[in-house]
Assembly symmetry: C2
Homo-oligomer: 177 residues x 2
């Protein structure tokens, strides 16, 4: 009986965990890599800044993600941050089963070989220094080696993911003091 009770309690935690994170908004980043056998891309809502000097960031990938094994083998990755002006590209890359690299006008390769999608507000190339397993995901700790920003940029419209919908920040979403 104890086992049953514990199992039920565990199930409640999993359900509450899921519903709490469904309520939690996050920035989005496009992750690309090529471990040597072809480019992969995915959309992650787990990017966060760790340290500016020296520059480190973190992101995680669920085992359920198609690109997880390839990213797990890659020495380097690129993280792209797109604004709402590129929502069509982000949606396309996020869609399961998308042929993410079929439109060759949308991406190129960095001199170091990694795939780079064009039009990002900013991008960061780095080396995965640590991979930490946690449950059914891998957390990647990345030392940033190179960065890029779009030149002569107009006003940024930051993109946010929340409960399977996309949102755009601006004066309309600002909370006054």
């Amino acid at each position: 009986m104890t086992t049953t009770v514990d199992h039920d309690a565990q199930q409640v935690i999993v359900e509450e965990y899921t519903s709490i994170f469904r309520d939690y908004p996050a920035g989005v980043a496009v992750v690309t890599a090529d471990p040597g056998d072809g480019p992969v891309a995915l959309v992650a809502s787990s990017l966060s800044s760790l340290s500016a000097a020296p520059p480190y960031l973190a992101f995680s990938i669920s085992d359920a993600t198609t690109a997880a094994p390839a990213v797990g083998r890659a020495r380097t990755v690129v993280l792209h941050i797109f604004g709402a002006d590129r929502i069509d590209l982000v949606r396309h890359l996020a869609r399961s089963g998308s042929d993410r690299f079929s439109d060759t006008e949308r991406w190129t390769r960095l001199p170091t070989g990694e795939p780079l999608f064009l039009g990002a507000r900013g991008w960061l190339r780095g080396e995965v220094e640590r991979r930490v397993r946690a449950g059914t995901a891998t957390l990647n700790v990345v030392r940033v080696l190179e960065t890029g920003r779009r030149a002569g940029d107009s006003a940024h419209r930051p993109l946010v993911y929340h409960d399977r919908t996309w949102h755009e920040l601006g004066a309309h979403s600002h909370v006054d003091a």
Copy 2:
């Protein structure tokens, strides 16, 4: 001369890194802990979900944060997610030098001892299983042991942090297809 050039290149990366992450929006969470010598609280924009079953999450703390040493010694932590209806509390907790626990009506303790601020949309209590150093920050990998949600809740107004301002998501921020 090479050293100078490398140093300059490194400086450019740090500056671009900072400006790229200034453009990057994030959810916010209030982290509390008590390693045995008193409660601490901080507002983090680095919370992310790792795995639902088993439930794991991650968050990081900069060495510059006053509460960093106490959180680093704590075996367990609580992560709170507040909506825009509690922006006053979140602002207060985020403010440097705030006496975060002076208003005893705003918080209590869980039976396990951790400080819990009231009114969160959801909270997660967990054990720090791994601490990973990266640059000037510590990344915490937390196994979730207990969760709570506000009962009979009205519509959620998710809170987002971006470029030192607070935003609220809703129909007004939704990006149409």
